[in-house]
Symmetry: C3
Subunit: 218 residues, 3 copies
């Protein structure tokens, strides 16, 4: 119940941020609408396709799609209004990330999947909406390059799984603990610009190195 | 029956336009083949995956794939011949769009889905082949930026759904009415270069505005 | 049995090459991990989604995902070590291509699909991991532009299908013959830089031609 309310808040705020990000690419209204929908419900869709968990939430509740379309078009009409609350949306997006992760783990638990698949289900739900959005906008997914995001989803999924399976606390508490913990982590990551190390592998430099090595060995 | 003939005309012309568009990206023959197939049958494939409607048409009729491969390779051999009929292909593509939309709604109706999911099924069938093609060619999908295309698919899907569910006219008439109406709309859109409004959202400009506002309020 | 050992060698080497290729795009560790996984098991995942063959191998054996994550992170720690063996990885990738193709045909045969769908299943398994990797890295898939790769997968799939269905030789022999033949073809293609013809279609040039034609006809 609490999860459903959070879910709706999460998909609506993802739809709004999706629309705002589409606005940078000179798209028409249909493009904006599609980017909004994909950002909001693309993650759950990919999870359900990969793990064969039909029907999807939005197929069972098509009214969610209508709500998302409404907010997407509202964003187009008053973008500067929504953009003014960019910090609020950053927080709502953090909430959405954790919320999506919990829902993903939850749905996989319901299908009696084990630890690894549950975590994968949660992470797919949390991050792949944003990945699809960036692929449609023709850029390298942001989630690979910005502050701790996917890693927080992984941590939240593991925590929630452990709380659900290896403790006896009620589900509502498990949700709340994961939400507070994950949300807190994300806020700290944004505040202090924490990020994972970047892996740079320069083949040319490497070839030079090998070349030198050869000279050295000669 | 009429729908099946139109379907084959539609996928063949999509395969040819797919091959022609692959020719702009220095792809080898396999690339051309794949782009052709994805443009022609990618939309239906995504629809059937998302709505779990297996098996797909081309899995049941693999001979369609062979026909498409044949036309794709024929296009490579005589591209200028096909390109000379570019206006014909624009019309065939319009026919294909409406035809795909009707087929999508039809298949979803057969699974007893409601209004919203039926329209989504139709639009996915109509536009996502082209979206996949553009993702594989590494550009922002054309369908987000050119004249009325997806919106006509939406209108055609709604019309066809209403004709099927809320009237008693025979299915063949519903198909013909939707085809004539949708095709006409698309021809008008091409002729008069009608397009949806473009949504441009400039974050920098917005930040400047906010900044001014602050000064003003000071 | 032999196929399973080859499969693990193949996905591990694909994961390592995936990680090395992610290193060129300034991705963080999560990005590298995801690119590794997608390169290694993305092809089989797409095949099983499209042909509705659930559950997937990695869903049944989640320990494979852990092994792949381990090698992906190992690559990040000692990239120059792995990169030094670039020729070995080219060979392992060739092995993987044929191995994936055989596994794809095998799985489709188990579902009683016919010739065309079996070949498509094999080719999807062989090449689409690399296509997904390139889409996530925001470039035109390499497989469309480099030496014979997908075409060798097609040939291997056809050979394996014929050996399985139209001869009575034991499955292990069919696998070995296909492996030796396909691997040999790929090594020859790399050695002599064999590639499919590139299809270049220049619309502007074509328009000029048509223009000239018109003048001529005037």
């Amino acid at each position: 119940m609490i999860l459903q309310i959070l879910y709706i808040i999460a998909i609506v705020s993802e739809a709004i941020t999706g629309a705002l990000s589409a606005g940078k690419y000179r798209m028409d209204l249909f493009g904006v609408l599609l980017i909004s929908l994909v950002t909001a419900i693309g993650g759950g869709t990919i999870r359900d396709i990969v793990l064969n968990m039909h029907p999807m939430i939005w197929v069972q509740h098509p009214e969610y799609v209508i709500i998302l379309c409404f907010f997407s078009m509202l964003t187009v009409m008053i973008p500067y209004f929504f953009a003014r609350f960019d910090k609020l949306f950053l927080l709502l997006d953090a909430l959405g990330l954790i919320c999506f992760s919990i829902i993903g783990v939850n749905k996989a638990l319901g299908q009696e999947f084990g630890f690894i698949i549950c975590v994968i289900a949660g992470v797919i739900t949390g991050v792949s909406g944003g990945i699809l959005r960036d692929i449609l906008c023709n850029k390298i997914p942001l989630v690979f390059q910005k502050e701790l995001y996917a890693s927080i989803s992984i941590v939240a999924c593991i925590l929630y799984y452990l709380l659900c399976v290896h403790t006896t606390i009620p589900n509502t508490f498990a949700i709340l603990i994961t939400l507070v913990f994950g949300f807190g982590l994300r806020v700290i990551a944004i505040r202090y610009k924490l990020s994972l190390p970047i892996f740079i592998f320069d083949e040319v430099k490497q070839k030079k190195l090998t070349h030198k090595d050869k000279k050295d060995s000669v």
